[in-house]
Symmetry: C2
Subunit: 509 residues, 2 copies
Amino acid sequence: MAAAPVWSVDPRTGKQREQVAVEATPAEVDTAVRAAHEARGALADRAVRAAFLRTAADRLEAAREALVEAADAETALGPVRLTGELARTCYQLRAFAGIVDEGAFLDVVINHPDATATPPVPDLRRHKVPLGVVAVYSASNFPFAFSVPGGDTASALAAGCPVVVKAHPDHPALSELVAKVLRTAAAEHGIPAGVLGLVHGFDAGIELIKHPLITAAGFTGSVRGGRALFDAAAARPVPIPFHGEQGSLNPVVVTEAAAAERAEEIGAGLAGSMTMGVGQFCVKPGLVLAPQGEFGDRLIGSLMDAVSKVEAGVLLDHRMRDNFVAGVTERAKLPEVESPVTPGAGGEHTVGAGFLTVPAARLAEGGDHDLLLEECFGPVTVVARYTDDTEARAVLSRLPGNLTATVQLSAGEAAGEGLGVSILAELTPLAGRVLVNAWPTGVAVAPAQHHGGPYPATTSTSTSVGGTAIERWLRPVVYQNAPEALLPAELRDGNPLGLPRRFNGVLER
Amino acid sequence: MAAAPVWSVDPRTGKQREQVAVEATPAEVDTAVRAAHEARGALADRAVRAAFLRTAADRLEAAREALVEAADAETALGPVRLTGELARTCYQLRAFAGIVDEGAFLDVVINHPDATATPPVPDLRRHKVPLGVVAVYSASNFPFAFSVPGGDTASALAAGCPVVVKAHPDHPALSELVAKVLRTAAAEHGIPAGVLGLVHGFDAGIELIKHPLITAAGFTGSVRGGRALFDAAAARPVPIPFHGEQGSLNPVVVTEAAAAERAEEIGAGLAGSMTMGVGQFCVKPGLVLAPQGEFGDRLIGSLMDAVSKVEAGVLLDHRMRDNFVAGVTERAKLPEVESPVTPGAGGEHTVGAGFLTVPAARLAEGGDHDLLLEECFGPVTVVARYTDDTEARAVLSRLPGNLTATVQLSAGEAAGEGLGVSILAELTPLAGRVLVNAWPTGVAVAPAQHHGGPYPATTSTSTSVGGTAIERWLRPVVYQNAPEALLPAELRDGNPLGLPRRFNGVLER
């Protein structure tokens, strides 16, 4: 049987551009994983891997023009957005280099012997060590930031773990190009090319998750794809952690007082957030609870104005376009659902943005309308009109886990009047990021960031963005009664590496 | 169908003592979980739960005499050991109260807006919140420390999570008694009794892991039982974290130089560790790599002397006794396996300690001898005699994951001569705790402790003992652009609760 070809496709035309590669056979997946496994030692020195991450950022920036062009040809996301995304990706690589330098992620805890404890405590020194080779499953919608050089790869390399990436079929040529840049950067620090493996093909992705030398996996994509891989990871003879970010409905609550105060601003802000990147963000606001009545009507009017002006856009591939068109059509047919601006097919290769409205009561009671509580990838949102807080709360209680939950409050509510505090408390169980008077699109790279949420938003309690993303690829080890001469430098009393640590109960920073 | 009775059994005679309860029906499991779910709010205040944990320790200590008597009647572990274990358990509850007070586990990270970041960073404030109701599966071998009031329960309550315990069938009466004490302590702080549920029965344990309101589980027991529950947790519509501690082989390497220097001391130390608690510790050294030749022979001689003096002991139940007798018999029959002191049946209800020897080459090559690489619960160990380092290393490379790995070094090696450093590096991938010139039995309760290891030792990268055990029951949430008036006190700029935190990149303690 001939190896299946991997084509680069232009989403603006649906036409094949070039054959990039062939799908990896099981033997090729094995070779990639073994090469990554062999590269572990080259990442052992923290200084080397911090330097590698910085060089990777430098080399990506140096290749910006070619990379953005390659990315645009396969994703149609446009050079402005892609240039920004590449800058974000380089910023992220450097941020992880800083995290490696600081070393707080090693979580060093040292206890000297304590005969007064029950039972007595011997000399114990704990830190974290890399798990081993990490499998990364790229996303379609961020060809840099959540793909080959993205947060999963950056955080795994920062942790000291080589990576094998399963390329997303929507940008195979870019994936090859970026992998080459990263390997060049690795070579500058004496790190073998195997530190970053790249495989193409659906079956190769399954092989990868089952490989005995894979120790953990990161994934960004659909619930269906993520769950299949999660199940495979859990079913292995040796199960491994699977950190899947599977998308989200991202509910928004607009209070009556907020709508009274800022209906037009909220409508316009919502339009911008839900159509950004042609609605292809996992944090796109997909369900908005807005009040019935005059203020909510004003919000809808403003949303209509703004959304109807949005130009038709090209989705990442034609399968997504078909799914979007089918998805919005099916939703629009539900009883009592209206389409003030009808989403759906634009030109032959584009889609038009739009939104649906529905009485919140329909979502509170279950049944066919539950379809509206499922993510629909693309430029559409659902505005559920509620008559009172009880109805809004009933809808919230039926939502699955989310990456984000947002509330739009009035100035008074934001200052603590009325229901402000209680709404925040009600939204917290729903999501990993809770926003006030802001929009969920745009996930900042910052130490405090958390990009994850209750299932199905993610398959673990971890994050794929922000400083703590590194924690996913480490495990603790404690040394008991090990003499100073044998201890890693990280665990010596004198703290020669100047690490933040917990030393005999005292937090040293 | 009548509800199945739950009997308390005397392991010294195999006779039923009394009927304690009946096995929980699915409806009763549901009632327990819902009551626990309702108790979440009562644990929301950190000061309340710290006080509750301290009162729980006080009340357990006040009931010491009755508790130790009840525990001994069902486990035959003896009052000395059980008194010590209860003291450890109370120490652990108070240690977690201290951890709750300090609040470092909340992992507070605050970022003020930063327009210079790529993309710009908004106001982000992250901390950790409790997951919800936790299921705890008790172990047989530590009726206090890894049972109803043990580390899983203490850490879950400390995190703010109510608990439903699946009682171990080897000490149902004690489990009921302890649950009552803990609920009394809860009532003193206005916490409803539902905060600590208790259910009996194998099927109830399965119901529990599948219950939609269970958010995570802790388990200590066998690989078989742990894996079945892990699989059920992963197969749920909403999968949940399953932290299973499943036992371990706990390899020990004795270097030639160490044996030359301290053969007798090592033999005697090993005898003490492998027979402690009638060999019923999950960290019992189950495989010892000792050199061939004179020094190793001296070690064997010393081990023979010490083990042959150990009195026959009562195992926790008669099923374990049967398994032990069958397990050692099957192992002893393997080619080239010898039994310098034959382990096996003692009296009608007891077992005798012993050990087996085998050429290390047999373990390096796979086949029938792989049985010797599986844990055998009870007072037995296997000494594999190696001819050179290559052979010893070949055996190590074939081991599954372990809770502990130990090396006995000479004074010179411990000071850094010879292979000291490299042996430590080789043992690190095998286990979560690496010991030098010590024995793995005895798991201190300390901030630095890590009681977990690569699968099958544990099903996650977490620990069930030590300060970081609390991390298992929490998830991060970040607030974006939330005004001060709406923020939890933990996340306010002024740090009114005095928490350790990362504030605009600076670690504050």
